[in-house]
């Protein structure tokens, strides 16, 4: 079985726009300043398309996925 995807944030680029948490609340919440708090465990398989959508939606392209 291939390994799952894991989310990570490029903190230099991240601006705290918050679209990722709107699109993937299953794995991303926002802290009190609007920056993402990421669930670092591998994503459930059914969340992977949604995660890729959140990655593409990030205004700064600061949200990334990698193979866990």
């Amino acid at each position: 079985m291939r390994p799952g995807l894991r989310l990570l944030v490029d903190w230099v680029s991240c601006d705290g726009q918050g679209l990722c948490a709107e699109l993937l609340p299953e794995a991303i919440t926002l802290d009190e300043w609007g920056y993402p708090v990421i669930d670092s465990r591998p994503l459930a398989r059914e969340l992977e398309p949604l995660a890729r959508r959140a990655v593409a939606a990030c205004p700064k392209l600061a949200l990334l996925v990698e193979r866990a």
């Binding site: 680029s13 679209l19 990655v55 205004p59």
Partner: protein, 232 residues
């Protein structure tokens, strides 16, 4: 059945009517695209009931619908024999046979729009900086589209069509005004330059429209071929 105005069969006019209608509708959709794009950049346009990804997703989808209408606008203009729009005139901004400068503005608008669209579809691969630099050209393509519409549009002088075009300009100017005053007041110099640029563009286009497309004799001055059924 022949048209009283041109003496040509009505079914031969269908393509030409579609061209004109699709042109105006795509201007409205491009206008909506610009406004949604401006809203998508703003932290203040978003709430629990209207999350920010809606602005972004609508910006994307409305732009693609607008592009589809543009394909119809261009396809019917080429297919129609009323005006000589060749395939080369679709993308080459110079050397057209029908109101060449203003047809050229439309070709340039299409070229820039395609560049903006393709780079957006490849945004994740392209990287944020390069994409964003190119994406500023969205304002250029919209402005060229307005000028093209006024310069070539055979309906541009009609009251209701003029109202639609003025409405589009007003809405975009309002949205840019919002963008320039929204959020942190960083980049004050750029914001002032942007405001000055918008005012200059509006004055320039208005002055040109008054002397040009809205003044008598434009069809002749803009280079409508003598044999064209549209010369009137």
């Amino acid at each position: 059945v022949t048209s009283a105005r041109s003496g040509l069969p009505v079914d031969m006019q269908t393509l030409w009517f579609v061209t004109r209608a699709a042109g105006l509708v795509s201007l409205v959709l491009l206008t909506l695209t610009v406004v949604l794009g401006i809203f998508a950049t703003s932290r203040s346009v978003g709430s629990h009931a209207w999350p920010r990804f809606l602005n972004q997703g609508l910006h994307r989808n409305v732009s693609l619908i607008g592009l589809t209408l543009l394909v119809l606008h261009i396809g019917t203009a080429v297919a129609d024999d009323y005006v000589s729009v060749r395939l080369r005139d679709v993308v080459l901004p110079v050397g057209g046979l029908y109101r060449p400068v203003w047809l050229g503005a439309g070709a340039a608008a299409l070229d820039v729009l395609l560049l903006v669209t393709v780079t957006s579809l490849a945004r994740v691969r392209l990287g944020h900086r390069a994409w964003r630099t190119i994406h500023w050209a969205g304002y250029l393509t919209w402005t060229l589209a307005v000028v093209h519409g006024l310069g070539t549009g055979s309906d541009a002088k009609l009251g209701w069509a003029l109202a639609v075009q003025a409405g589009c300009v007003g809405v975009v100017v309002g949205a840019v005004g919002f963008r320039l005053t929204d959020g942190w007041r960083a980049h004050t110099g750029w914001r002032l330059a942007g405001a000055a640029g918008v005012v200059a563009c509006v004055l320039l286009v208005t002055a040109w429209a008054e002397q040009g497309p809205l003044a008598p004799g434009w069809s002749h001055r803009s280079g409508t071929p003598r044999h064209s059924a549209l010369t009137r």
